[in-house]
Amino acid sequence: MARAKIPRKSTSIDMTAMCDVAFLLLTFFILTTKFKPAEAITVTPPNSVSDKAAPEKDVVLITINPEGKVFLSMDNEEKKEIVAETLNKEKGLNLNINAFKKAQFFGTSFSKLPSFLALDEEQRRGDNIPGIPCKDSVNNEVTDWLRIIRSAYMGSKMNLLVKGDNKSKYPAFKNVISAFKKNDLLKFQIITNPEAVPIGSELYRQAKAAVK
């Protein structure tokens, strides 16, 4: 039987277009991605309808972990140096200033700070660090920290942030706030995860009216 000859088609497809798309998306994601620094303290912040991005510079961050331990971190190394020097002068702690500048966060009482700085970075995790004592108004070391930090930031802008865990109890937050009040730091920001404005609420209507 004579069969009609089927022309053989090549199996190779032109990949150029697909390659273009893949790399375009890749470039986009590479450029937009921002790696989360490994967090020594795991905290899940609550949600809010606020759409203001959290500031990234000159941050003084107070973290409250689920057990209510309070930690403090700063990003500006120059200010950190000033704070370390003030601490050495005031409390006679004899801190290693370089280690102080490198430390990502602080979470002990002042007296234990030198041994805290001597620890390895690996060992400084939220679970095995006692946190800054601020149980009551008498022994509230956050107040001292903030007073020193505030004078270090004298004349420049400082963004005071509070990042608390969903599960932490209110008293820890209350003690932090009372430390703020004592230092006349009356403006601060709470770090939250964004959330959509509930449809039909007053804010929703206001936002819609503003668009129109």
Binding site: S50, N166, F173, F188, Q189, P194, E195, S201
Partner: protein, 186 residues
């Protein structure tokens, strides 16, 4: 796949002195490159965090001992919200005293229903003069940080212009505890 075109094509007549060069295909097989592209793409899609953390501003009032500087709450235009443990919310309107504690003190929740705190705030807001309307938030020691932020967020959602966070009084704390112990809702 990565084929090189080695067929020297048609032997065209070349002029004298012109070297016969092999014609190479310009087509490169892009499959491995696409593979690599998508691999990296997947990686970055999974690691990226699209939603950056946001922040809400909070302004604290200055503590003052001088009673004349303190803001007075008008009797009936205030709504006091108390936060208990296990996401319980309680509220009362105006001033709480022994006479009206049983009727005025009511329980609510973070839900969206009729007795949810959002509709309570809205109802009170509509029924009072905007100038005098004030929400007082009193978190008890048992409530969580999430509850506090949630209630502050409710203030933003419901556009409450005046609100304050105040320490809970002993009487109120007892009342919250007693209501919670007796089974919560009313």
């Amino acid at each position: 796949m990565a084929e090189l075109d080695t067929s020297s094509g048609s032997n065209r007549k070349k002029g004298p002195g012109v070297k016969k060069s092999k014609k190479m295909s310009t087509r490169v097989d892009l499959t491995p490159m696409v593979d690599l592209g998508f691999l990296l793409l997947t990686f970055f899609i999974f690691t990226t965090t699209m939603s950056l953390p946001t922040s809400m501003n909070l302004y604290l009032p200055k503590d003052t001992d001088n009673p004349e500087e303190q803001n007075k709450i008008k009797d009936n235009s205030a709504l006091t919200i108390l936060l208990g443990k296990d996401n319980n919310v309680f509220y009362y309107e105006g001033i709480l005293d022994n006479n009206n504690a049983s009727t005025n003190f009511r329980s609510s929740n973070f839900g969206l229903g009729e007795d949810g705190i959002r509709s309570v705030i809205l109802k009170k807001k509509r029924s009072t003069d905007d100038k005098d309307f004030m929400v007082v938030i009193k978190p008890s020691d048992e409530c969580t940080y999430k509850n506090v932020v949630d209630i502050l967020d409710e203030m933003t959602i419901n556009v409450v212009k005046r609100y304050a966070m105040v320490d809970i009084s002993d009487v109120e704390e007892q009342l919250v505890k007693a209501t919670e112990a007796s089974g919560g809702s009313n």
